[in-house]
């Protein structure tokens, strides 16, 4: 199981590099779908079945399909080419940053044991301590739906 999760993680990172250099919008969105499915597998392998199900339903089933539907409706085919000079500058700064992050993480005492929570404990905390944030998220979703409708409405 551990080796399987290791390979999945490596595959996810490689696919995210593929999106940076890809020329085809459809292939980019399909590799985004594979990334979402892989992160869902990581959620399940690390012990949270609920986040696995929500990840596959909301991201892989909702958001990716919505993006594919939009680009097929608009007929977007052409895309840009990445400039190599910008890529070199960006990757230089990224690896400089990663060097510092690695120096911080090198001696950090990560726990060997992974704690698992029961779902009723998590939802008790969510609906008692975080009730205001929960209601605000529902308000943001409602505003998003109404706002999207108002933006695309024909005058």
């Amino acid at each position: 199981m551990n080796l399987f999760l290791f390979i999945t993680t490596l595959l996810i990172v490689l696919l995210s590099y593929y999106i940076i250099f890809s020329q085809n919008i459809t292939y980019s969105i399909l590799s985004l779908l594979l990334i979402f499915l892989g992160i869902g597998i990581l959620y399940m392998g690390l012990g949270s079945v609920f986040l696995f199900i929500v990840q596959w339903l909301v991201y892989a089933g909702g958001i990716v399909v919505l993006m594919l539907f939009t680009i097929y409706t608009l007929g977007l085919k052409k895309t840009d080419v990445v400039k190599l000079k910008e890529v070199f500058v960006a990757f230089f700064f990224v690896f400089l940053n990663l060097f510092f992050i690695w120096n911080i993480f090198k001696n950090y005492p990560f726990l060997k044991k992974i704690t698992a929570f029961k779902m009723d404990f998590i939802f008790d905390t969510l609906l008692k301590d975080y009730i205001l944030a929960f209601e605000l998220i529902s308000l943001i979703l409602l505003t998003g739906i109404v706002g999207a409708f108002l933006i695309v409405r024909e005058k």
Binding site: I20, L51, L66, I122
Partner: protein
């Protein structure tokens, strides 16, 4: 092994930022936002699991809602921009004000 997951989560977040910065298509900016938010919720989940309290996992659950609302607004803006200009290149939208 936990450090490896953390490092790959950080790499995913940075790659999302790079997609937003390096590409000129509007749909790629949306892809970058989604990838960064998803990597962020994965990092929250990892922190919750390795520190032993449930608050990180709750933040991961709340981030799903924010990402879904963001992609709905973003795709609506993309539809309007493509209707107005006929392209998704963000260089063409410099004179789009108001």
């Amino acid at each position: 092994m936990m450090g490896f997951y953390y490092f790959c989560g950080i790499l995913l977040f940075i790659n999302g930022i790079l997609i937003m910065v390096l590409r000129k298509g509007f749909i790629y900016i949306l892809i970058g936002i989604e990838l960064s938010l998803n990597a962020l919720s994965f990092l929250f989940f990892l922190a919750s699991r390795s520190l032993g309290n449930p608050h990180g996992e709750i933040f991961a659950i709340l981030l799903f809602g924010i990402a879904a609302a963001g992609i709905a607004i973003g795709l609506a803006i993309l539809i309007n921009l493509v209707k107005a200009k006929g392209t998704q290149d963000i260089e063409e939208f410099k004179d789009t004000g108001g």
